[in-house]
Amino acid sequence: MQHRIIEFAIGLLFGIGLIVSGMTNPAKVIGFMDLAGAWNPSLAFVMGGAILVGVGAFAIARRRTTNFLGGAMHLPTARDIDRRLIGGSLLFGAGWGLAGFCPAPALVSFAAGNGKAVLFVITMLIGMAIFEFLERRWQA
């Protein structure tokens, strides 16, 4: 139960951070990606602020074998830069630029009841399900 409460609280903090940062506004996201138009550099400050804090935490995390609650550290082990990584990321970026929604802010706007975010989240879940289906067929 303690775990569930902490996870909820961190999710809440993350969601508030997304709203405060402006990431939940697709117009602002697209403004950042629109170098040829009226460029809005705000999102560089979001990433900068997040990484500033994160670098220290992950340096500590790398040296630990257990988390603060005594459980396992689930740090990524994949290191390869392959066609899947780049191809998938290119598809993701194209979708992100098209509507200005990436997964986390879309979920927040979905919970806020925004119609386009609701549709986006539904089709994103369908996309994720298509991936699962193709993966399973590939392995079978």
């Binding site: 775990h3 629109d34 500033l52």
Partner: protein
């Protein structure tokens, strides 16, 4: 290049970014998990016994954020100008792409770059590059 000074919000964006960094830091240090939304969500398709609880609790916390924000601070500013058809295509691309690429803005962008991971840097450059190219295409070549 012209800068959109009217919508430029360096301080609130920096403050929000710091909150995102604190959340990602707490998640790895306290729970031992990477705060990557596409992975957290995708891991529920389908839910696996013993692996769903932490994902659902985290997502419920995220869902509570706008409700709390609206109650205490005011309405969210969500200007989504893309048409409905574009939103459908965007959702499919983001869903498939983030799963193949094993991460999105939070997992690769925030956590991966904070870990100084070359793999996440490559992914971030790819999706940011594709985002910039798509916006240029849609706003300046097709419009």
């Amino acid at each position: 290049m012209t800068i959109d000074w009217i919508d430029f919000t360096p301080w609130s964006s920096l403050a929000g970014g710091i909150l995102l960094g604190i959340a990602a830091s707490l998640f790895i240090l306290v729970n031992g998990r990477i705060l990557g939304i596409s992975g957290i969500l995708g891991g529920l398709l389908p839910p696996r016994r013993g692996d769903a609880g932490w994902r659902v609790s985290f997502l419920l916390g995220m869902f509570a954020a706008p409700l709390l924000y609206v109650a205490f601070a005011g309405p969210l500013e969500i200007e989504a100008d893309a048409g409905w058809g574009a939103v459908v295509l965007a959702g499919l691309l983001v869903g498939i792409g983030t799963r193949y690429g094993a991460g999105c803005t939070s997992g690769h962008g925030i956590c991966g770059l904070s870990r100084l991971s070359p793999r996440s840097l490559a992914a971030t450059l790819a999706f940011m590059g594709a985002g910039f190219a798509t916006v240029y295409l849609v706003r300046h070549l097709l419009a």
